[in-house]
């Protein structure tokens, strides 16, 4: 697969006057492939949000370069292309919803891109169907639950037909139901529509769904690998203020207790199946 986003020696500091300004990002090199689902983990203040804001030119590198589809994000003339390729969803849906009716909210992005009205209608309907909110198209945005609001925010991005969606802790303010709705939506956009996903999260269970996990610490990527490999290294995760998913912890501790479990589980279903299979083999 060809690289879709290339980050080369990226350094960033909020204050580039004065020499003692501390770098928030300290030499990041990262390639993101088209259609990939990448999760970013790291402690508070490690630079996760600063990093993803570079992917749609919300921030520009102090040193180094970021390329989206081969376009340098510093190229001011191409800002429009970058923003319509890479959309961003933030933590609190209440801070990003502007319209009072659901379908107006979703139409806001394409309207601003100057899309023809007939085509806007099609895009809005399609986007609402994708996040499973079509029946709410005439509802008021303030009457929705947190999960529904966040799905509307995602629909607003989808209506701009981006190739990639960045999500900065999209579920941290949601109840369990809302969290599941949003995660299912993200997974479906990635699997069924090939949209590249970059997800920042503090929930290890969510990161377990990604193709790769990047761990960032003090502005550097300290590790990038498949969830199955990363979550098998308990001591390593601990060092970077992270934890492991409950299912991984359970299997890990059962092994330490002498149970011969060879496989690793990444979700509840896998975990239950591994244990059932082992218990049945004891007969």
């Amino acid at each position: 697969m060809k690289n879709f986003i290339d980050i080369v020696d990226l350094k960033f500091s909020y204050n580039n006057e004065g020499n003692n300004a501390k770098n928030i990002l300290n030499g990041i090199n990262l390639n993101i492939k088209k259609g990939e689902f990448l999760a970013i983990l790291g402690a508070n203040g490690s630079g996760k949000s600063t990093l993803i804001k570079h992917l749609n030119a919300m921030l520009l590198p102090t040193k180094g370069n970021v390329f989206v589809n081969g376009i340098n994000t510093k190229d001011e003339g191409k800002l429009y292309d970058i923003r319509s390729t890479v959309g961003l969803v933030l933590q609190n849906p209440d801070n990003q919803i502007v319209a009072s009716i659901v379908e107006d909210e979703v139409a806001f992005g394409p309207e601003n891109l100057g899309v023809a009205p007939k085509s806007i209608r099609e895009r809005v309907d399609m986007a609402l169907k994708l996040v499973d909110m079509y029946e709410y198209r005439k509802s008021t945005t303030y009457s929705l639950s947190g999960g529904q609001k966040q799905r509307i925010a995602i629909a607003g991005i989808i209506a701009m037909q981006p190739e990639c969606i960045l999500l900065d802790e999209p579920t941290s303010m949601l109840d369990p139901e809302g969290r599941k709705e949003v995660l299912d939506t993200i997974k479906s956009l990635n699997k069924n529509y090939g949209i590249t996903i970059v997800l920042i999260t503090h929930y290890m269970e969510e990161a377990a769904n990604a193709d790769r996990i990047a761990i960032i610490n003090e502005g550097k990527i300290v590790r990038i690998d498949a969830p199955r490999i990363i979550f098998s290294e308990v001591a390593f995760l601990d060092k970077y203020q992270l934890s492991i998913p409950t299912v991984v912890e359970l299997i890990h501790k059962l092994k330490l207790n002498g149970l011969p479990l060879n496989n690793m589980a990444l979700d509840e279903r896998e975990c239950v199946n591994i244990l059932k299979k082992y218990f049945n083999s004891l007969e």
Partner: protein
Amino acid sequence: MAKIEIQDLTYIYSEGTPAAKKALSNINLCIKKNEFIGIIGRTGSGKSTFAKHLNALLKPTEGKVILDGKDIWDEPKEIRNVRFKVGMVFQYPEHQLFEETVYKDIAFGPSNMGLPKDEIEKKVYMACEFINLDFDLLYKSPFELSGGEKRKVAIAGVIAMDPEVLILDEPTAGFDPKSKEQLLYQLHCYYKNRGKTVILISHNMDDIAKYSDRIIVLDNGNLVMLDSPKRVFSQIDLLKSIGLEPPQITSIMQALKEEFPDLSDEILSVDEAVEALSNFVKNR
């Protein structure tokens, strides 16, 4: 004696207008002194509205809130004292920061209580220690801090008033796993070592299960359950019907129990599960 007693509490938003909406209906419950209470419920179930009644930010439409045996609305002039006794940390507490320095922000509460200067200073340092905030940050502007640090400052500001009842509304949203554990552990100590009452609103069932003595379950403004974590999280069908679910480890054990009925499903932590499963294997 009950620390807080809620009698027939009903609250209607925008009463008397066409937009009137019943947010709490006829709630009755008691919270003991030195108890750790969890509050769960889906978005819009009334958790925050309920909590705001406990420190007199909202006045019941009907019913009473009784603190230490006295209806808090009996003497409206004394309402300030209720707020000193019952401290509240809101969602996004970092939005409440406003002072020039972190020190002044944390000192704001105790200053309003009319404490002498050296006492205020003591409270500020104690609160910083409690929340694990670097003393070096005290003379910085709160707006120079990271998101996590800002939130710690806001929580320290409430802790500095040394409230008898501490209410926190989703205090760990957006915290990394280690910072989250640290804060929850500190809350546990505030309750355990200092005899205080802590009330935690959270969407994280694992945290609620781990720390609460009892859990208040709200749905659509109604009190659905008030019981121990084991009892609450064994009611899986009821929880699902109101948009909640048990901690993941409980639901794994419940799934295993379907095939192996000897297993217990009243399990709330990984360590309990490891013990139960290891014993199960030994006895097979």
